[in-house]
């Protein structure tokens, strides 16, 4: 990456924000700070960050609303910083648009790894086109252009959803376990929370499946994981 990546930190705790600043600068990022949910969206529009670190519990607007508002604007990677690991909180955060989450307290290396994983964009220049589905229900993916069309109409996917779809579509009919997807898409080297996969597969289905309740393009293989359906 030629330019230093810009990180928007939305957290109301000044000590934590300062410490995050120290870590991020040491690792070569350019951080910006916001302590209030209300101001987060304005700061986002002003700074156009490459990634957002977002605390779920914020004064003013809640972290979930901030995530939704940012998602309404762009597909920028959002990593939640959460003090709660309860399923409800995590799933709510992911459903609001966060790509990944990290539970406080976390190790700085872990955080940096998460940020890097989310910033690592495929810099593929080799032309690659993928197709899944059948005539009448066809998804075409232009990998270098980051473009996805469903029956010819463009579908807006976040980078993470795009990566997930590409991972599945590159090997249609092959069943991917949640662990493998966590490794390939999220960049987790060790076993992590499989809820990440579940929530994002659902988000992806909501965008490309005609009936997300009865998925045809991305199918669940009971007891194993997911596969890109073909035919």
């Amino acid at each position: 990456m030629s330019m230093r990546a810009r990180v928007l930190v939305v957290d109301d705790d000044p000590a934590l924000a300062e410490m995050l600043g120290i870590i991020l600068r040491t690792e070569g990022f350019t951080p910006t700070f916001v302590t209030d949910g209300e101001k987060a969206l304005a700061a986002f529009k002003e700074h156009r960050p490459d990634i957002v670190l977002l605390d779920l519990m914020l004064p003013g607007m809640s972290g979930l609303d901030v995530a939704k508002a940012i998602r309404g604007e762009s597909g920028v990677p959002i990593v939640m910083l959460t003090a709660k690991s309860d399923t409800v909180d995590v799933v709510l955060g992911l459903e609001s648009g966060a790509d990944d989450y990290i539970v406080k307290p976390f190790k700085p290396k872990e955080l940096v790894a998460r940020i890097r994983a989310r910033l690592r964009r495929g810099d593929d220049v080799t032309p690659e086109r993928l197709e899944i589905g059948k005539p009448g229900l066809q998804v075409q993916i232009d990998v270098p252009a980051h473009q996805v069309t469903l029956n010819g109409a463009e579908v807006k996917l976040t980078p993470l959803e795009f990566d997930l779809l590409v991972a599945l579509a590159r090997k249609p009919r092959q069943v991917f376990t949640r662990q493998v997807l966590l490794e390939q898409v999220w960049g987790y080297r060790h076993s992590a929370d499989t809820r990440l996969v579940n929530v994002h597969v659902q988000r992806l289905r909501a965008k490309i499946e005609p009936d997300p309740e009865r998925p045809q393009l991305i199918q669940t293989v009971r007891g194993v994981g997911y596969k890109a359906g073909l035919g």
Binding site: D13, A15, L16, M19, L20, I22, I23, T26, M57, L81, A83, K84, D86, T87, V88, V103, K104, P105, F106, K107, P108, K109, T177, Q179, H190, S191, D193, T194, R195, N198, R222, G223, V224
Partner: protein
């Protein structure tokens, strides 16, 4: 062979089907009627009380009626018999006067005299209306033609011939009249020639009196039984209605309608029942509300502690890591201090994590995230993850697993945590001897067993290992710095799955932990595919 035409045989071979069908239907109907009756009888206290009252009073009334009818009947008949015997003795005297003149039974005039005697006696209202006179030779003279049986009976005649006055009952029809009950009194007339006189006294008036008595007794008895039944029904209704209401109310209470109360009427025992029932419901409601509030508070507290503690800890964690990474630039004391800081923050983090987890279980807010997953890779991942720790302790960990996938509907995060706790615990206590991890499944359950051959457990310790902060040997130093909550949390995790986590161990022979979870979420574990025994080596699952 010329057999009969088959058309003729067919109807004989097949008997008409309707009786069988009818019997079948009748049985069906009886069954349909009887089954709900039996179940209603079992279910209804009122019905049982009424039925038993009816049965008991019927027996009582029947016994009473029989005794009364019997004594009245025998009284009446005894009286009649006494007077009849007296009258017959008088008749014998009258007859003796006229018969005394004959010295031989062969006298031709005797027959006529005998006929006159019986006719005279029969006409005289003082004596029996029908009489019969016989000589010892068998000549018989009757006052009236007698129908029915040949009379009197041989036994009576034997007695009379023996010289005694005897009586007998029987029914006859004289003069083609209706058959009626009679009392027959026989008496000997002992003259030169022996005669036997039989007098027939009609018992119709006695018979009428007795049948009237019987009818009245029967009517009164039936009325009494019915009345008792009605009284029993009314009385039990008085008691049963509030009891039924109490049952209904408590059912509704149990279903969670905590505002349900009973109606209190009057000030009798039943009103007291209703009153104390309502008091109980009141207390229950307030207790439940209090518990709910406590649980809510606990949850909020957990959540608050979680956030309030974790945010500063996150800052400390990052600062410590930063210092730790640059510790080589410090002098020896600062370096060692940084290392200690780092380790203790790790411990603190683990402890906080597990305390929060335990409090989540305690407040009942732990939720199960069930997914159909293969258990094998979870176990293998955990073991792979612990290879460094195992190497540190000089322990080899071997996984025995079925070749096929073991798919179970479990919360993989929790299963992972349990296996992690069991494996790290086993490595810690293995004393350098090998550790075996076995996966096995049955039709209904999946089990993960972790077996070490280390210090083992003292008697009575197998249950206590799951206690919070419990240590088998308090003086034992712990290098891995376990929090003392790992196994307690693991047990809660197993319970949340409706599964089991059990331990068995012997000093010097090591310890075996078996986690058993139902294959299908919502089911219960009854037996484990892996027995909780030390002696058998964990079987190679295949």
């Amino acid at each position: 062979m010329a057999g009969p035409p088959s058309a003729k045989r067919r109807p004989r071979r097949r008997p008409p089907a309707w009786p069988r069908r009818f019997a079948g239907r009748a049985l069906d109907y009886a069954g349909r009627v009887a089954t709900p009756l039996v179940s209603r009888f079992r279910a209804s206290l009122q019905l049982r009380v009424v039925a038993s009252t009816l049965i008991a009073s019927t027996i009582l009334v029947l016994t009473f009626s029989f005794v009364v009818a019997g004594s009245v009947t025998s009284g009446l008949l005894t009286d009649r018999r006494d007077t009849a015997v007296d009258e017959t003795v008088n008749a014998v005297e009258r007859a003796a006067e006229q018969l005394g003149q004959y010295n031989s039974a062969a006298d031709p005039a005797l027959g006529q005299t005998m006929q006159r005697v019986v006719n005279d006696l029969a006409e005289d209202p003082v004596f029996a209306p029908y009489l019969l006179l016989a000589t010892g030779d068998g000549d018989v003279v009757k006052s009236h033609p007698v129908g029915g049986i040949d009379l009197p009976s041989q036994e009576l005649r034997e007695l009379v011939r023996g010289g005694s006055v005897a009586a007998q009952h029987g029914t006859f029809d004289f003069d083609d009249a209706e058959r009626m009950p009679y009392l027959i009194v026989g008496a000997p007339i002992q003259l030169t020639v022996d005669y036997e006189l039989y007098a027939f006294y009609p018992l119709d008036s006695e018979q009428d009196a007795i049948s009237l008595l019987r009818t009245n007794l029967a009517l009164a008895g039936v009325a009494l039984v019915l009345l008792l039944g009605v009284i029993a029904a009314l009385v039990t209704r008085l008691v049963v209605t509030p009891v039924r209401e109490a049952a209904r109310t408590s059912q509704r209470l149990a279903a969670g309608l905590l505002h349900e109360r009973m109606e209190v009427r009057g000030s009798d025992d039943l009103a007291r029942l209703a009153g104390s029932f309502n008091l109980m419901a009141e207390n229950l409601q307030s207790q439940i509300r209090r518990l709910e509030e406590m649980s809510m508070m606990q949850r909020r507290f957990t959540s608050d502690v979680s956030h309030e503690l974790r945010t500063p800890l996150a800052t400390i964690r990052m600062a410590a890591d930063l210092l730790y990474d640059t510790r080589d630039d410090f002098d020896a004391t600062a370096k060692r201090s940084t290392e200690l800081l780092q380790h203790e923050i790790d411990r603190f983090e683990d402890l906080l994590q597990e305390l929060l987890e335990i409090s989540r279980f305690d407040s009942g807010f732990a939720s199960l995230e069930v997914d159909a997953v293969d258990v094998n890779p979870i176990v293998e991942d955990v073991v792979a993850h612990h290879s460094a720790l195992a190497e540190d302790w000089g322990v080899t960990v071997t996984v025995h697993r079925p070749k096929r996938r073991v798919v179970a509907e479990v919360d993989s995060r929790r299963v992972q945590r349990v296996v992690r706790n069991l494996v790290s615990n086993a490595i810690e206590h293995a004393e350098g001897r090998p550790v075996d991890v076995t996966v096995a499944e049955s039709e209904t359950a999946v089990a993960v067993a972790v077996r070490d051959h280390g210090v083992g457990l003292k008697p009575g310790h197998a249950e206590r290992v799951f206690d919070r902060f419990w240590r088998a040997d308090p003086s034992r130093t712990r290098r891995t710095g376990g929090t003392g909550l790992g196994l307690a949390i693991s047990l809660e995790d197993a319970k949340l799955h409706s599964g089991t986590l059990q331990a068995v161990g012997e000093p010097g022979r090591g310890t075996l932990f078996v986690l058993t979870l139902p294959l299908q979420a919502g089911n219960r574990v009854i037996t484990s595919p892996i027995p909780l025994r030390l002696d058998e080596e964990a079987p190679d699952a295949r």
